[in-house]
């Protein structure tokens, strides 16, 4: 059994390596147009946001709609470190992620007692409060934003951090800690009486989600030269929520697919300036009407599906026996 799992790990690494290698090759040879590169980076950042939000919304079942707030914390913290304090980029990313995680922890502790729509509106409120706080700090440029951020984020950074995020959250979910989170989504009271410290796991999911949103924010800030509080407004949070729901609540691969697809659609629609948002709106409505459970539902598309098909096993729990 150890062997099978190791085989799977090797396979995962192989696929990731192949993906990385082929794109890296294109970049090195100068065949990848800078515009495609930007959108590739955006896809990575959006995947980080969507997957981390899915941990909170889809897996733990806590309805959060203030995810852009954590992105803002990560973006600002990291930018202050590189711009104002001349610290190295890796330290800035780490600090940004940790700051976002800390804020997530502090917010999560009191608010995660709330349920459903009430939690949603509280997280929305916190997202807006974070925005207002940045608007009022002149040190980071206030409402007009912090400019002059060095352009350090590269495809390498984005690729490895995105892969790290996805693997981290996937492994988390497939552990007893992750299952504890899922049990909260399924039935909080039953989870509690099965010995699961629901508050701890809700806050843990929230903190981990915020951590990766912070990392995504740091990458974002160091690619786009300037950040301002309004970039991280509630519509941005909604964008990520849409990715999660569209991909399927509780499906990591779903989030990855949806983040990729929506980023590409958004880029394709840039040309259709006036009707861009109309098309986007129609797409949302139509997809939800036809597939309210999202593209993937709570299923995962993974290499192990092929494996299982080969062994004639059914979908469901990953019993690696």
């Amino acid at each position: 059994m150890q062997k099978i799992l190791n085989k799977r790990i090797i396979l995962t690494i192989l696929v990731l390596g192949l993906l990385y290698g082929s794109i890296q090759n294109l970049i090195v040879q100068g065949k990848l147009n800078p515009y495609y590169e930007i959108n590739l980076l955006l896809i990575g950042i959006n995947i980080m946001m969507a997957v981390s939000l899915n941990l909170i919304n889809g897996f733990t079942g806590q309805f959060s709609i203030g995810h852009a707030g954590f992105m803002a914390v990560g973006a600002y913290t990291s930018a202050v470190l590189t711009v104002k304090l001349q610290q190295p980029f890796p330290l800035a990313i780490l600090a940004g992620s940790l700051a976002a995680a800390l804020i997530g922890f502090l917010i999560g502790l009191p608010t995660l007692r709330l349920k459903g729509d009430y939690l949603a509106i509280a997280t929305l409120g916190f997202g807006e409060i974070i925005k207002v706080v940045f608007v009022n700090i002149e040190y980071v440029g206030g409402a007009s934003g912090l400019s002059g951020i060095p352009h350090i984020t590269t495809w390498n950074w984005v690729f490895f951090l995105t892969a790290f995020t996805v693997v981290f959250i996937k492994n988390f979910i497939n552990s007893t800690h992750g299952r504890a989170c899922i049990s909260i989504r399924e039935d909080e009271i039953a989870a509690e009486t099965m010995g699961i410290n629901t508050t701890k796991y809700k806050v843990m999911a929230f903190t981990i989600g915020a951590f990766f949103a912070g990392a995504a924010g740091a990458l974002y800030a160091h690619y786009f030269y300037i950040i301002q509080p309004n970039t991280f407004n509630f519509l941005k949070s909604i964008d990520y929520l849409v990715m999660v729901v569209l991909g399927g609540m509780g499906s990591i691969t779903g989030s990855v697919l949806a983040a990729t697809a929506l980023t590409i659609i958004s880029a394709l629609l840039q040309r259709f300036a006036e009707i861009r948002m109309v098309i986007y709106a129609l797409l949302l409505i139509v997809i939800m009407l036809f597939r309210p459970q999202g593209l993937m539902g709570n299923k995962e598309f993974s290499l192990s599906i092929l494996e299982r098909l080969g062994r004639g096993e059914k979908h469901g729990s990953v019993s690696s026996k």
Partner: protein
């Protein structure tokens, strides 16, 4: 039901495929290498990177409408040096990251020779590094933040230009007018917190006003989305200033003037070119506009045929009177066309040099010369309103 669902799905898919196809088609397919002979190109591609959706879409669309109109006029007159201009219009969602993204797309995908836009300073700051990196000139019609054309070390950014006032000038003129003409001793400033334009003007106004011996008795803020300013205005009124300085755009300005008057504030209100719009009168009403003054590039009583024609054409085409953003966008388009003409060839570097050498260009917002900081040098006028709320000329100020 089932069937109609399927049909709908197919339609949507077809729609998407068409769009995707359309995009693919419009891409400059791996062209057989850059045309070797400097033959006359068929058209000159200009990129428009504007806020066409999102929270400042109003401004972006206003500016881009005027630019499209200007391009149509230029092309009707035979284009530039006989080559028609083509505007590649792309939406940046009023988002700085998207502004960077769009600028990259326009330059590397569509191969435009110059960029127009965006309108807000923050978004322009997201696009300027791209223009610099790929060496394509960028003109913002309305980005007032000094940092756009000058970097942190004080060096002029080679590829960035603007055709609007930078913050200092209008704030300076407004403060002088308040002190000298209105004999104000105290002033209150009401600032749009998330507008670089308003913040910049307010800063200079405050500096000039206090240097000349005036006193700022209240400094308050609002955000663009606000519609109700009564609470803050009540606070301002209680400070009893001789003059209230509000350097924002007409929608907020109009509401502020109206609500200030409703709360019994009767003293002068001073603003800047953002006040210039026919809608201001409709929003505020003539009564509220008594004792209101603002600095502007030109006077509407000006019978300059160019201006009259612009206003008429815009009205005919878009059904509304152009505002300051439209006028500035229109001029930016013409200044660019003029530079391309003088450059002789539609090549980014030549256009950039020609832009930097712009002297005495006469547009609808006055005469423009570009200085060594890539800012326009324009004269200013002070406008006020008559009993019916019609704009009238008050005095002229030269730089």
């Amino acid at each position: 039901m089932k069937l109609s669902k399927k049909v709908a799905l197919i339609l949507v898919l077809a729609f998407l495929v068409t769009i995707a196809g359309g995009c693919g088609g419009s891409k400059p397919a791996p062209a057989p290498a850059p045309a070797p002979a400097p033959e006359k190109p068929k058209e000159i591609l200009i990129g428009a990177n504007f806020e066409l959706s999102g929270n400042v879409a109003t401004f972006g669309i206003s500016a881009v409408n005027a630019i499209e109109m200007a391009f149509a006029e230029i092309n009707a007159g035979g284009g530039v040096n006989g080559i028609p201009l083509k505007l590649v219009k792309v939406d940046n969602k009023s988002d700085t990251g998207e502004a960077t993204n769009v600028a990259t797309k326009l330059i590397t995908q569509d191969k435009v020779v110059a960029l127009l836009g965006p309108v807000t300073s923050t978004n322009v700051l997201g696009a300027v590094p791209v223009a610099t990196q790929y060496k394509v000139p960028l003109i913002t019609p309305t980005g007032t933040n000094p940092k756009i054309t000058v970097d942190d070390s004080g060096k002029t950014r080679e590829w960035a230009f603007r055709t609007c006032f930078i913050d200092p000038f209008q704030g300076f003129v407004g403060a002088n007018f308040a002190i000298n003409t209105l004999k104000a001793k105290t002033a209150a400033i009401f600032i749009e917190k998330n507008s670089d334009y308003a913040k910049g003007l307010a800063e200079v106004f405050e500096k000039t006003f206090t240097e000349k011996g005036g006193k700022i008795v209240a400094k308050e803020y609002f955000v663009t989305e606000d519609k109700d300013f009564r609470a803050t205005l009540t606070k301002i009124k209680a400070a009893n200033p001789d003059v209230l300085y509000v350097p924002s755009y007409y929608e907020q300005d109009g509401l502020i003037a109206k609500q200030a008057r409703e709360l019994g504030y009767t003293k002068p209100i001073v603003g800047a070119d953002g006040w210039d719009s026919e809608k201001l009168l409709q929003i505020a009403g003539a009564k509220a506009l008594q004792e209101v003054y603002f600095t502007n590039h030109y006077s509407p009583q000006d019978t300059d045929p160019k201006l009259v024609k612009f206003v008429e054409n815009y009205k005919a085409k878009y059904g509304s009177v152009p505002d300051a953003l439209a006028a500035l966008g229109y001029d930016a388009a013409y200044i660019l066309a003029d530079a391309i003409k003088r450059a002789g060839a539609p090549e980014p570097a030549k256009i950039k040099d020609a832009l930097a050498a712009t002297k005495g260009f006469v547009g609808v917002t006055g005469s423009v010369s570009i200085d060594d900081k890539h800012n326009p040098v324009k004269g200013a006028v002070i406008i006020t309103f008559d009993k019916d709320g019609k704009q009238i000329f008050k005095e002229k100020v030269n730089p």
